[in-house]
């Protein structure tokens, strides 16, 4: 792997970010809307049940942590779509760039943008509702890593599918990760889910993180086991997803990259 090539791809997307207002709004607009909407809703609930102050914490925490998953996935799939829309994949792959460097650059962009979005959203949540995301302290680091890893493997699966079937299924880039959210129990405890959904949730790495994060908020207890299970599941899924993306890429090499547009 060569750093200058990874940097080149990252640079290409950062330039795009600079020029593209809609991409900028993605990073700030939706988090703002979510925080305003759910923050006000939880304040309303609190009026009727004064001891429900935890509601604001749980909702804000859910929104901010889910943002990490979403950005990780979004940056992979939308950046691949950008290259398809721009017919730019050929220019990238007639250079010495390796497939692994290309994928890694998406991961890096995901981290950069997730951090930017998260800082912005956490400041907004603090300013509006006095919610301090950083009360998780150092626990936030493993949470961040595991959540963004989930975003990555979902992103790789969606990107691989888009490469195989073309841009006609591009809406997956914006919608796919949402499929995980009900099973991740982002805003509610897992016990609320029906039994069959709880069984599904057991295979979703983010469910352990959101459940664990609520335990930190409610009981001040950090469950290492949940983090380990989430880590194992994430590693397994990430390996499968990268393999699938590589296979999809090989598939289009069979037809020729030109056939992509």
């Amino acid at each position: 792997m060569k750093l200058h090539r990874i940097f080149a791809v990252v640079l290409r997307y950062l330039y795009l970010f600079k020029h593209s207002l809609d991409r900028l709004s993605d990073a700030f607009y939706w988090p703002t809307i979510d925080i305003l909407l759910w923050g006000l809703t939880s304040l309303y609930f609190q009026k009727f049940t004064p001891d429900a102050s935890i509601v604001v914490l749980v909702l804000m925490s859910g929104i901010l942590l889910w943002l990490i998953v979403w950005r990780g996935q979004y940056e992979i799939t939308v950046n691949i779509l950008e290259d398809l829309w721009n017919k730019n994949l050929i220019n990238i792959f007639v250079s010495p760039l390796k497939f692994s460097e290309w994928v890694l650059s998406f991961f890096i962009i995901g981290i950069v943008k997730a951090i930017v979005s998260l800082i912005f959203a956490s400041l907004l949540a603090f300013f509006l509702y006095k919610f301090n995301l950083y009360l998780y302290g150092f626990y936030l680091i493993p949470y961040f890593i595991l959540l963004i890893t989930t975003g990555w493997w979902v992103g790789c699966l969606v990107a691989g599918t888009i490469l195989r079937f073309g841009t006609r299924i591009q809406t997956l880039a914006w919608t796919a990760v949402a499929l995980l959210s009900p099973f991740s129990a982002v805003y509610y405890p897992l016990s609320i889910l029906p039994p069959w959904a709880q069984k599904v949730a057991a295979f979703i790495p983010t469910s352990y993180i959101f459940e664990g994060s609520r335990e930190v908020l409610e009981k001040g207890y950090f469950d290492v086991n949940k983090v380990i299970v989430s880590l194992i599941l994430n590693i397994v899924y990430l390996v499968i997803a990268i393999y699938y993306l590589r296979k999809s890429f090989n598939k289009i090499l069979e037809k020729g990259l030109v056939k992509l547009y």
């Binding site: 200058h4 080149a8 640079l11 020029h19 220019n91 007639v94 020729g256 990259l257 030109v258």
Partner: protein, 309 residues
């Protein structure tokens, strides 16, 4: 040493029991400093071959060597010294020319990056465009930016897909001269496709004709053109156009008329007797010129004789 060597390259699409063979066991080489024209009709297999040479399509079988190194196992090192430009691919639209060249330059290990970009921008006369987004450029300007991108890594081998398509004649001439100059200075080996036969004759040392995935001719443009015996005689007729037409039809010669301009295709060795005979018919002309057969004639003859269908 060959800059590029292709052995039995084959690409098949579709089901194994009944595949469509787009490229059928072609073998050729590109010498150091050579400019090779890669010609054929649309769908002949040119783009498929180029894609395989660039590693953006997997061959069904066959071998590709650059600088005596196997492309399959040394792609990364090889592509440091190879580049490509096509009228049919794009760089990112939302980025400026300078941003595009900058990010592309990082893909290659280019020393003195800033100077290289400045120099290449000068070479392709795109100084005034550097801060413009690609979406704001004309097709001709985009072609120049694509070419600038192709030269950014001091390539030893360049694959150019219709490099001067959509350029105005002045810029196209400049680009052709630039290619010849680069070859002279740096021994760049160039494989180019073009539908402009004049251009191919002007810049190519050798041409390969491909048809239905097979190489049907491989020689210098001059030799290929000479293999065609037919010359064109162009007249500006003053008197006797009808008699001339009648004579041409009787002798089954191909001809074209546009007003008083008349062109007849005839074997070179028969020109003298033809002129003598039409003089005896009382055909009078104000101007006459003879065009020797060129690559286009070769191409057209191949189509006619079924070499290219």
């Amino acid at each position: 040493m060959d800059a590029l060597k292709v052995l039995d390259l084959t690409k098949k699409f579709g089901p194994k029991h009944n595949p469509f063979v787009a490229v059928n066991r072609i073998s050729f080489s590109l010498k150091e400093g050579e400019i090779l024209g890669f010609l054929g009709r649309n769908g002949a297999g040119k783009t498929t071959t180029i894609q395989m040479l660039l590693g953006i399509m997997t061959p069904t079988s066959g071998e590709i060597y650059y600088f005596d190194q196997d492309f399959k196992t040394n792609r990364e090192q090889i592509m440091e010294h190879v580049n490509f430009s096509s009228t049919y691919t794009n760089l990112p639209w939302d980025l400026t020319v300078h941003e595009n060249l900058t990010f592309i330059s990082y893909l290659y290990q280019i020393k003195d990056r800033k100077n290289r970009i400045r120099k290449i921008v000068e070479n392709f006369k795109i100084e005034k465009l550097v801060n413009q987004k690609l979406s704001e450029l004309s097709t001709g300007q985009l072609t120049r930016v694509n070419l600038a991108k192709a030269f950014i890594n001091y390539p030893k081998v360049l694959l150019l897909d219709e490099p001067t398509a959509s350029l105005d004649p002045e810029v196209a001439t400049y680009i052709r001269n630039f290619l010849l100059e680069e070859r002279k200075k740096f021994h760049v080996s160039i494989l180019l496709t073009s539908h402009n036969m004049r251009e191919v004759e002007e810049v190519c040392d050798r041409v390969i004709f491909i048809d239905q995935g097979k190489i049907i001719a491989d020689n210098s443009p001059l030799v290929l053109a000479k293999s065609i015996e037919i010359s064109h005689i162009n007249f500006l007729i003053r008197d006797g156009l009808k008699r001339l037409k009648k004579y041409v039809n009787t002798h089954h010669l191909a001809s074209e008329t546009e007003g008083r301009y008349f062109t007849v295709n005839i074997k070179e060795k028969e020109i003298a007797s033809f002129l003598k005979e039409i003089a005896s018919l009382g055909v009078v002309y104000d101007e006459v010129s003879i065009d020797k057969p060129d690559l286009e004639d070769y191409f057209l003859q191949k189509i006619k004789t079924g070499g290219i269908r």
